[in-house]
Symmetry: C2
Subunit: 331 residues, 2 copies
C-alpha cells in the first residue's frame, strides 16, 4: 500500500482531527491544502481548496484524516469524495467504514482510473515470521501503555537523525503513521498468525549503517493488545528500544482495573522478550510526555526517572531526543 | 460457529488424515462413518457410507478432516461434496480454500438450506479484550514449541476430570480442536487486535467449581507465533498452566536457528506473562510426548524433568494425567 503524495487533508465537519494534525506536523511539506465542510472546528492552517483546485495544484491523494464517532463515513461526505475521484485524486481512508465498498465511490474510482486505499482493511497478505536476522540496525519504541507517544518519539528520533545526516527511515505500524510515511503495515489489523511476519516485512535487510525506526504499538502490559506488541517486538528484532511513558497516567487506558507497570518492570519485560530474536538488544532511554506539567515538574520527573532507571530520559517536545540519538550513534 | 454432530469424516484420496484421526480418537461416538475415494491410504476403522447412507444414518455434518498439500480443495472432490449438501448435510472444512466461495457448492447449500462452515475463515468478530476477571476456574496448556501435544494434553485432562465427575469443558482454539468440540475460536485466524478478546469470549463466566480447559497455541518462545500465544494467555486468565514439551525436539519447528527453551525458562516466562491478568496463576505440571522412546528412556526423562522443575511430569498416553488432575482438584 503506497499512498501517493502530496495530500489534500479532508476534515469534513469534524470537531477533532488528530490524524490530520499529525500528518501536517510531521509531513507539512506533503500537504497542499485542507478541505472543510460547514461546522468543521479544526483548522490546520493550510490553504482551503476545492477538489478541482487541489487536483490542479498537484494533489495526488485526498486523505480522510478524521475519525467521526464510531469511525463511520458520513453520508454528507459522499458527493465531495466522488468529486475528488472525478478530479483525478486517489482516496486514502483510515475509517472503519470500507470506502471501497461504497458502490458510488468504487464506480467513480474505476471510471477515472483512481485508487481507494482503506488502510484499516489491508489487502496485503504476509508470510509467517521466520526470525532470521536481517542486516541494518533497528529501533522500536515500546510503551507502558497505548497512546503514550510512541509514534511521536519515533518520528522525533528520525528528524534528529536526519538533521545529523544519519541514514534512517521511519517505519509506520498504525493509521496516522502510515499516512505520514505514505506506506507501512497496520500490524493490529493483520491476521494474528502473521503479526511478526508483517513486522519482518516492514523493515527488510538494509545497509549496515541504516536505522529502521519502527513505530511501536500497544504495550506488553496491556491485556487488550499485548499479543500485537509481542509479535511486533519479535519481528522487529530491535537493536535498541526506547520506552515511552505518560507520567500522569494512573491506569491502563480504558481499563481502570489495570495499573501502569513500574518503568523498570516494563523495560525488563520488553528486553526479556526482545532477546528471543536479538540477544544484543538494549534500552537506550525513556521518553515522557510532560505537556501537562510545569517546567519545574517536568524537570523533576525527568530527573527522577533517569535516576531510577539509570537511563537518559527526555521529553521529545520539551528537551528533544538529542541525547538518545547520541547513544544510538555509538551502536 | 457451531458444527452439528454426528459427523461423516471425509477422507478423500488422502495419505494422511491427522485431523480426522484426532476427531475419531476423542469423539468417536460422534463419528458415524467415513467416506473414502480411490487411492485413500487412511482407514479410521469407521463404517463406509455413501452421502445418502450417511444422511439416512443421521449425520448432520460432513467434515473435511484432511489437509492435502497446500491445504487446497481438490477438483475431484466437488461432486461428492455437492452430493453431501443435496443429501441434507452441512459441510465443515478446515482447508485454506474457502469452500463457501465455490459457487457450485454455495448454490447447492442455498437450495437445500444447508450451511458451509469454513473454520479457517471465521465470520465472527470479537470485542477487544478487557481483562476483567471472570468466574469459574481455567487451565491453559502452554508449550516449549508448536505441535508438542497441547491439544492432546488438554483433552486428556478433560477426560480424566469427567471420569472423576468433575465439571469441566474443553475449549478449542485450533482447527482439529474445533472439530472435536463442535465449536471454538481459531485464535490464530482472528485479527491481531482481538486475540485476547477472542480468548475471553471462549471461556465466559461459569460456576465456581467449573474448569474451562483451554487448548494452547504456539509458544512464547516461537518467533513466528508468540503474539498469538500471549494474547491467548492473557485472555484465558488461567488459574493453572500445564507446560507441554517434546523431549526429542532440538530446535523450534521449521526454525533451525532457534533452540527449544529450557523448561524452567518456559515456565517462568509463561507465569510472568500470565500474572498480568491472573496474579494467582500457577504451573501444575509438565506433559511430555515420549512415544518415540523406550519405557526406560521415558521413565528417565519423566524423572529428570520432575526433579529439575519440582513439578509432576507425565506422558498423557503412557502414564495418564491423573496426578495433574489430583493437583487441580485442590485448587
Amino acid at each position: 500500500m503506497n499512498i501517493k503524495k502530496p495530500y489534500l487533508l479532508f476534515l469534513g465537519d469534524s470537531e477533532f482531527a488528530k490524524t490530520a494534525q499529525g500528518i501536517c506536523h510531521w509531513r507539512g511539506q506533503g500537504c497542499v491544502a485542507q478541505f472543510r465542510l460547514a461546522g468543521c472546528q479544526v483548522d490546520l492552517g493550510l490553504p482551503e481548496a476545492s477538489m478541482q483546485e487541489a487536483a490542479d495544484r498537484g494533489v495526488k491523494t485526498l486523505v480522510i484524516g478524521v475519525a467521526p464517532h464510531g469511525g463511520l463515513l458520513k453520508e454528507s461526505w459522499l458527493p465531495h469524495l466522488k468529486a475528488a475521484l472525478e478530479a483525478g485524486m486517489d482516496i486514502a481512508s483510515g475509517l472503519h467504514t470500507k470506502v471501497a465498498d461504497i458502490d458510488m465511490l468504487q464506480t467513480a474510482a474505476n471510471v477515472h482510473g483512481r485508487q481507494i486505499l482503506d488502510i484499516r482493511h489491508p489487502q496485503k497478505t504476509f508470510a509467517v515470521g521466520d526470525g532470521v536476522k536481517r542486516s541494518g540496525k533497528r529501533l522500536l519504541t515500546v510503551g507502558t501503555d497505548c497512546n503514550v507517544g510512541k509514534m511521536f518519539t519515533t518520528l522525533a528520533i528520525e528528524q534528529e537523525m536526519h538533521k545529523r545526516g544519519m541514514n534512517a527511515t521511519f517505519r509506520a505500524t498504525g493509521q496516522t503513521g502510515i499516512f505520514i510515511a505514505g506506506k507501512g503495515a497496520a500490524v493490529d489489523a493483520v491476521i494474528a498468525d502473521f503479526i511478526s511476519g508483517a513486522a519482518e516485512w516492514l523493515s527488510p535487510d538494509n545497509h549496515d549503517d541504516h536505522w529502521d525506526l519502527i513505530e511501536g504499538q500497544g504495550s506488553l502490559h496491556n491485556p487488550s493488545y499485548a499479543g500485537v506488541s509481542l509479535g511486533l517486538l519479535h519481528g522487529s528484532q530491535p537493536d535498541a528500544i526506547v520506552l515511552c511513558h505518560d507520567p500522569l497516567r494512573a491506569h491502563v487506558v480504558d481499563l481502570m482495573h489495570y495499573p501502569i507497570p513500574k518503568l523498570q518492570d516494563a523495560i525488563d519485560t520488553a528486553l526479556g522478550a526482545a532477546r528471543l530474536t536479538n540477544p544484543k538488544v538494549q534500552c537506550v532511554g525513556v521518553c515522557v510526555n510532560t505537556s501537562k506539567m510545569s517546567a519545574e515538574q517536568a524537570s523533576d520527573v525527568i530527573a527522577k526517572i533517569s535516576r531510577e532507571t539509570g537511563l537518559v530520559c527526555v521529553d521529545p517536545v520539551r528537551t528533544g531526543v538529542g541525547v538518545i540519538v547520541d547513544k544510538l550513534a555509538t551502536l
